[in-house]
Amino acid sequence: MTLPLLDVQDFSLEFRTRSGTVRALQNVNLRIAKGEIVGLVGESGSGKSVLSYAMLGISDAAAKVTGGRAMFGAQDLLTLDEKTLADLRGREISMIFQSPRTALNPIRPVGLQIEDVLRRHAVAARGRTGPDAGLGLRERAIQALREVAIADPERRWAAYPFEMSGGMCQRVMIAIALACRPSLLIADEPTTGLDVTTQAAVMDLITGLARERGMATLFITHDLGLAADYCDRIVVMHAGHAVEAAPTKALFAAPRHPYTARLMSSTPNAGSTLASLEPVPGNLPDLRRDDLPACRFSERCQRVTDTCRKAPPVLSPDDSHAVACWHPLMEAAGV
Amino acid sequence: MSETTKHIKHVLSENPVTLVAAALFAFFVLVAIFGPWLAPYDPLASDTVTALKPPSLQHWFGTDALGRDILSRTLVATRLDLGIAVSAVVLSFAIGISLGLAAGYFGGWWDIGVIRLADTIMAFPLFVLAMGIVAALGNTVGNIVLATAIINLPFYVRVARAETNVRRSAGFIEAARLSGNSDLRILAVHLFPNILPPAMVQVSLNMGWAILNAAGLSFIGLGVRPPTPEWGILVAEGAQFIVSGEWWVSFFPGAVLMLAVFSFNLLGDALRDIFDPRKRT
């Protein structure tokens, strides 16, 4: 079996706050193969963004890793020093964020912002051989703008973020992230807040470029439907646990974790009626509690037994359709 | 313990500097209130025999040219200085915040008018303005308070205007209009309490500045006049003796003045932390 590009093993993280310790992530397993597009789906509070920030070493100051490894190739990202991480960011692993306007420097032309990344990772020098050989920084920046389907890239090089629409700013952010051809892109809710048609265009762009370059993508979202349309595999998170991981088709054909099933049934789609929507009962448990049940979905689950509360269910990453549940749903739908 | 008290306690304990600032501030307030009773000597009693004596056990801060105890004079001056500063700041705050709220909320001519007023005021150096007011209205403490209040007006106007601008189109303001609020009520009930935190920080910084203003004006003879003890006057009285070696006449009042301004500035940081909702978990 080939080594996965990113292999997160047994990862746990907590936040020390004034009102207690928030056990934000617990024993999370996640694997991304080279060139694979993985969707990380969960609601707010599930820990999906926290996980990706921790990978890149940009967590909040109050965050503390309490266990596990994050193997990127042969290196454990969690043990790297800041300098090595800084070299890695942008060059091997890139990230794009939710609000493009706040991620761009408002007083710097977008073309220069792309060049900044190129310059930081000395890519112009690297580009002496290969397809971009001979191109200066400016040409490479214009090329990057062209690749994200921005019309008239030579002129847009000098544009400021405020002169561009939300969708265009998002494209610029993608151009910056992909300028150095990273092998892994983490996209944190890149289309939330965008119109439906713009959303589709941006997702087409990201996945198109990913396929073209064999770039792996971790696509973080709360929109299960969106993940279904674009991802090869989906990992579902709930309250800091990875509860299910499966290829997209298999997941939708037969979700095995009760939470996944409920998530699907509470999302309106073409065929549903109001009455058919089944929301997830209860609320997210408070992650500061000391008496959290072993399976954090216990208090919201109708299949709960004592085992669920005492013994943590484990998601075994070797299974193709993995689930962390003592009483997973079987073939037929239904809770 | 209420959440607010818990939060305040946390802010104070998080940064030792904040605790120091709070303690100093409390100290000055106490001295202002109890000054006359704390003073070991009558601040106005002169005794030429003990003139210009250096600091000693009987006179901790030494004595001045007329034999008056500098410690007593400095302690008693606290009340006047703080009084001038507080009055000026309160006046500034009330007028400045109101003008800024109106400018930020109504825009248009209100905005233009208020900004022009603030610009005009900012163009005047304090001393020129104070001298102008004194020349026109007379050399009294009240007019010094007025001059200091006017000079500080633009700060409050700008803070209020900026914060109001940001919040003017917030959802809850629109919702307030839907709930039947008139413009005036929105300004008073919805906007004002929400812009208070940043304005409070401004208040603390201004207090330090206002104390300096009052001392500076007294130094050049405007407003408070001898023999009334006031820090600026005390420093002025001692200025001529520095060269001849009687350093303590200016030094101690000056040091206390500096400490007061310092503690108010530090307090500004603490106030900001206390009022900043993002600092709460």
Binding site: D195, R262, P268, P279 | F172, R177, L178, S179
Partner: protein, 323 residues
Amino acid sequence: MSEQALLRVERLSKRYPVTGKRGALLHAVADVSLHIGAGESLGLVGESGCGKSTLVRLLARLIDATEGRILFDGQDLAAVPAQRFARTPQRGAIQMVFQDPTDSLNPRFTARDTIREPCLLLAGMDAQAANRRVDEVAEQVGLPLALLSRFPHQLSGGQKARVGIARALAPRPRLLILDEPTAALDVSVQAVVLQLLDRLRRELKLATLFVSHDLNVVRLLTDRVAVMYLGKIVEMGPSSAVFSEPAHPYTQALVSAIPGHGPRIRLDGEVQSPIDPPPQVCRFASRCPVVHDRCRREAPALQGPAEQVAACHFAAWPVKAAA
């Protein structure tokens, strides 16, 4: 069409002067006409820049229109300036639920303060009556009474949304405008709130205007829907019909972009500027996949054989999806 429609909007327009360009006007809302009957639910969909937020604020009387009439129970509300509308008796009859529950609650008011305010100001109740009304309406929206003394930052997203709904219902409105009420909520909470809104609408026989960019959600909660593009209504009709068989090319593209709806119709070309648009050109012409010459010479009016109408000369033509 019902003569006794609760809300009848006639040729409503809003134009803003453009700073920097003398005489230029931004047409945010152009010539919009629609109606909502008592107890009826109309959806309003469109993407950013289509003018639905402006239209909503015109109808809620937060801003003044440039032209047109807003007839509520026969009375033209547009005649009263927005500045003074807060004090008219109709203020309590039209209420709104906002998009972002966090932004739309005063951070220094408890939930009870927030819900009580319209009772005191609009319904003229005294403190006791107002408190009783707060309890009553909190129960209606499923908000536990214990939460009423909390501040917004102590409430979850779903709870804040309920406070916003309770506030809007407190003065017993007859028309409720819902401006993307579930956009900021998690999917599981969204389902609960949608079911709540539907139940309230039926129980209280409220007329509602439901604005959303999420077409799936709009389809579930509305009887009819209007689609807006660049300030104009381009299609209107029964919700099920408009979504299953959209007649206007823009609606077709919109529906096709929903995840899971099959091949996407791509819209290429630049969006026309809303500043001084030439009146004889269809506003969608610059991006329309089936544009013809006629579209640039004669702007189409809303027309259609039955209840479903579309502003397009070639409405019946199916559009080929991008392969």
